[in-house]
């Protein structure tokens, strides 16, 4: 895509997202806000896995960190809920760096194991210190209208997307990709592996934490079950289905993860709610077997085909 047409597509997408809430019911605006929550979480995972090449199965845990930061500050300390989001991002960043530190010595399988354990361990901690977190009963938060939630969460998405783009296009992004493609070559060219791995984990966790805060705002409620293993896995599904290493894929992944379950529930085919994980799992396996690049790869193939067809019409290739 040339720069001009790319700008046009971005502007059109932004316009659609801004125009959509005017046409939707309040319930569907909440759905839209939930898509934004997944968008931010998947964006964070994509920076880590797609660009820096480090696996994380535990980003739901960082969402819990963000969510509990917001909930505890709002409920116990009387903060206005939106103002807690930057602090949640900071808390997430710190936790991400801590989990990222072992990543300096571990790779691949070990890292996946460790982050998987984080995903299961953090909700248990929240459950244990119930005086602080409300435990199983959870904590209720002030409710907001669907429009407000839609506006806040998509505004946050836009800011974070621009930030991600700025980080990834520059020096840091190049360093991330170098670490992903070959650690040895990256180290040999003077890219510090430790700083960039920890930084990628920190950024990814900060994004997840913001998503967690917004998730709590959308539900106006928090309890440990919201941040179970399923959430972490859904983020991963979204990133993989959308296509790792592509910012466009993030939007596709977020829409897929949020709207497929509610779509299935409303159509009443299969056994509604129970069939969702089966369909997700099988879909994920099939996508990885057929199009490992996810939706982005499908779009690229489609784009390549149309380009080849139009070019052939103009001047036959030799």
């Amino acid at each position: 895509m040339r720069a001009a047409s790319r700008l046009l597509v971005i502007a059109a997408t932004a316009a659609v997202i801004a125009w959509l809430p005017l046409q939707l019911s309040d319930y569907n605006r909440m759905q839209g806000a939930s898509v934004a929550v997944y968008f931010i979480a998947i964006l964070g995972l994509d920076i880590l896995t797609g660009y820096a090449g480090q696996i994380s199965i535990g980003n739901g845990a960082f969402m819990a960190i963000g969510g509990y930061t917001t909930a505890i500050l709002t409920v116990h300390h009387g903060w206005t809920d939106v103002t807690t989001i930057p602090l949640a991002a900071l808390a997430g960043f710190a936790c991400g760096v801590v989990v990222g530190l072992p990543a300096l010595r571990l790779s691949g399988a070990y890292l996946a194991l460790l982050t998987f354990a984080v995903a299961l361990a953090v909700p248990q901690i929240a459950l244990n210190y119930s005086g602080f977190t409300g435990g199983n009963q959870g904590l209720p938060l002030p409710a907001h209208s669907g429009l407000w939630l839609y506006a806040v969460s998509w505004a946050a998405s836009a800011i974070l997307l621009v930030l991600a783009w700025l980080v990834l296009r520059g020096r840091t992004g190049r360093a991330f990709r170098a670490v992903r493609d070959s650690e040895i070559a990256a180290a040999a060219s003077g890219v510090s592996l430790s700083i960039h791995k920890a930084l990628a984990f920190g950024i990814s966790a900060a994004y997840a934490a913001v998503a967690g805060s917004l998730l709590v705002l959308v539900n106006s409620f928090i309890n440990p079950q919201m941040f179970g293993l399923t959430l972490s896995l859904y983020i991963l599904i979204g990133a993989a289905v959308g296509g790792l290493g592509s910012l466009w894929g993030v939007l596709v992944g977020a829409i897929f993860v949020q709207l497929l379950p509610s779509g299935l529930q409303s159509t009443q085919v299969f056994h509604a709610a129970e069939s969702v994980p089966v369909i997700f799992g099988v879909f994920l396996v099939v996508v990885m077997l057929v199009f490992p690049g996810g939706a982005t790869q499908v779009l690229r193939i489609a784009g390549g085909v149309t380009r080849r067809v139009t070019r052939r019409r103009a001047a036959p290739e030799v």
Partner: protein
């Protein structure tokens, strides 16, 4: 003037290397642990009881850990769907018993079904990504985890079921200490399964072929081993061990028969496998038993460790092992080639 004769240095194979300092330390460490447990058990009946029930949970973790190690050794991939496969087979066993088959026939039938199912799963889902990047294979195994756990909930609903135990509940008394027969039986079955598997790998031709294709796939292929099928067999055996672990876990009081029942056990098994070095089946057994006993003693003797904090504790243990000695107790340190 003398010309220095070029000396030819023969690199010694790792097999000829004598046990290094770290191995002595590991042995001493394990011995100290055993002595500690023995003295504690001799002095306190409660301690002995907790140790035995810790060993029983440890046996459950160990068999799942060995399943993970089997697949990791052959393909360097951690199989995240191992716990879900175990859950599925446990439900199959439960269903068979509901249909009126008694425990041990249902047990054996389930193992057979697990073996076939494991092989089928490898052929369908894993074989196409055999040569893909590790990230791809990890994501596929997570897809399987979601799908299989979802299928359990879909078929059998997420309602909690009751899994019968093979062993009588009443305790046996031994010198003033009462052990539950179920704990003893669990230890026996898991150790038996692992020993049988070890014997299979050690003494049969197929076992040899499987070991060969795990360590030197190309050389094995050259001498006519069908490496890809050996990997599938590995998945079959892993599913069998997982089924053993799942059926025993569901009968134990700490785990309820529900679709997510193995999520926690999988973490303990991961911790066990990491402690053992992720490549060594013997290490996984020792690791599993050690994790089981450690967590059980932590829960009963350390005040603030509630049942909710056992998973985080396992995570901290795993983190500690990975930071201090990433190759575990029995693993070899990883050498990266440029």
């Amino acid at each position: 003037m003398t010309v220095a004769k070029p000396t030819l240095e023969i690199p010694r194979s790792p097999l000829h290397r004598l046990p290094g300092g770290s191995q002595v330390i590991v042995a001493a460490f394990l011995l100290a642990g055993c002595v500690f447990l023995a003295i504690g058990s001799a002095r306190s009946a409660l301690f002995a009881q907790e140790t035995v029930s810790g060993l029983a949970s440890g046996g459950i973790y160990a068999s799942l850990a060995v399943a993970l190690v089997l697949i990791y050794r052959a393909t360097e991939v951690v199989n995240f769907s191992q716990g879900a496969i175990a859950t599925f087979t446990t439900y199959v066993a439960w269903q068979l018993m509901q249909w009126g088959i008694s425990y041990w026939p249902a047990f054996v039938l389930t193992l057979a079904l697990a073996f076939v199912g494991g092989i089928a799963l490898e052929r369908v889902a894993i074989r196409p990504v055999e040569r893909a990047s590790q990230l791809t294979v990890v994501i596929v195994s997570i897809g399987l985890l979601i799908a299989i756990e979802g299928a359990v909930g879909w078929i059998w609903s997420s309602q909690i079921r009751f899994m019968p135990s093979a062993f009588p509940i009443h305790p046996i008394h031994l010198g003033g200490v009462s052990f539950s027969l179920e704990d003893v039986g669990t230890i026996g079955v898991t150790i038996g399964a692992v020993v049988l598997l070890w014997a299979f790998f050690r003494f049969t031709k197929i076992g040899l072929a499987m070991r060969a294709s795990a360590t030197h796939p190309d050389a094995a292929r050259l001498v006519g081993v069908r490496v890809s099928w050996m990997l599938a067999l590995g998945w079959g055996f892993a599913a069998v061990l997982g089924a053993v672990s799942g059926m025993l876990a569901a009968a134990s009081p700490s785990v309820l028969l529900q679709p997510s029942m193995m999520d926690g056990v999988l973490i303990y098994a991961f911790a066990a496998a990491v402690l053992g070095g992720l490549e060594s089946p013997a290490g996984a057994v020792v690791g599993g038993l050690a994790i089981g006993v450690t967590l059980n003693l932590l829960a009963s003797y350390v005040g603030f460790v509630t049942p909710q904090l056992l998973l985080p504790a396992a995570f901290v243990l795993m983190l500690g092992i990975l930071l201090i000695k990433p190759s575990g107790l029995f693993g070899r340190p990883k050498v990266r080639k440029v």
